[in-house]
Symmetry: C2
Subunit: 192 residues, 2 copies
DNA sequence: CCGATTCTAGATTAAACAGTCCAATAAGGA
DNA sequence: TCCTTATTGGACTGTTTAATCTAGAATCGG
């Protein structure tokens, strides 16, 4: 055999995620991507295919990673609604260096809407994963009487998803962690 | 003198807004823009300057128009919180043909963040206009006892702004008017 | 050491891009 | 009618783009 294959595919993908998040798909040139990923042109084409394929892989990884992180922050063991609030607080408290880069998932929705089937598939699967986790907690909260009985957990799930998107847009627009936390508090307040 | 100047500058700008909303700044080519605007290349350059200048004019008009529309929907004469809810409902009930195109204001935030000074200025002035209208209504609601006394109107203003952004992202991702209305209801519920 | 494979750097291609230029037509006012 | 200005369509320029290709250096296992 011969030389070891690939070195730091994950690192390279992280760099691509950062570039795509900040400039969108169309706004990211291959040269910019290669410079950030610190690999040669041919390595990129060998490893990831083409620019579009790189984007889809970046989006997939970003979506699953960021949602798994939020879900992990929900497993605090506290009361359901407090666990949800804790997860939103943790998200709100990310350092500005991270928050200001924007969310690649929201960026993809804004840039492509429902017109790109592959992007839409990735978006839908991520939304479903998040929705499932939220819904489970809300059902639990309703059983324990923490969630107001008047509230439909399905509706509340959509509401919290939209709230998260709104927080992401606000963060990208420079909102402080404090501001983001007050937004999260009021969102949770509506469910009590 | 001579021939009348310009014919349908507003129409042309509307068409540009539609294209920019759907594909972003980088994703909109001049050829695509000209085809949608139905004017010749030189007319575009004579009238709007260059692509970037066209974008800034489109963003400015879109921002003011869409926010004035929301503010108008708040002037229902009803109780403050109901007026706010009515405005969000009206927004949620827009036809899919309009909602699925996306919001150029949110698109600009996602595409450029705070890096483009001119875009940021337009975004800030629009946010301020909307925030002022919401804040006035919330203060009024608190005076009339409709808004919960525990709530800081300033915080609630930021919350409602984020909610609106979240609704816009959801709409761009295909959410139905029904879904958007339930999101709006829960948002208002948190303030009572 | 050697053959296989990966990587890098740079040249290259063909298309798309934003923007300018030019010639011709259209439409007013004097 | 004539002069001025708008508008158009298309040719054109120079740059940037995504992607391929080539040649050589680096790195492993046998």
């Amino acid at each position: 055999m011969a030389r070891h294959k690939e070195f730091d595919k994950d690192n390279a993908l992280d760099a691509a995620i950062s570039v795509f998040s900040q400039h969108g798909y169309e706004g990211s040139s291959t040269d910019t991507l290669l410079a950030a990923m610190k690999i040669s042109r041919q390595s990129m084409y060998d490893t990831f295919g083409d620019k579009r394929s790189l984007y889809l892989q970046a989006l997939k990884r970003y979506n699953t990673d960021s949602i798994l992180r939020i879900i992990a922050d929900m497993q605090s063991g506290a009361q359901p609604l407090d666990a949800l609030e804790a997860a939103l607080f943790a998200f709100a408290s990310r350092p500005a260096s991270e928050a200001s880069k924007g969310c690649l998932g929201v960026s993809a929705i804004c840039e492509f809407g429902r017109t790109d089937a592959d992007v839409a598939t990735l978006t839908d699967s991520a939304s479903a994963m998040l929705a499932k986790a939220i819904f489970t907690l809300l059902k639990d909260g309703q059983r324990k009487g923490q969630l107001s009985a008047e509230i439909d957990p399905e509706a509340a799930t959509q509401f919290l998803g939209a709230t998260l998107s709104g927080m992401k847009v606000s963060a990208r627009n420079g909102a402080s962690p404090e501001t983001l936390r007050t937004i999260a508090s009021l969102a949770i307040r509506s469910l009590r």
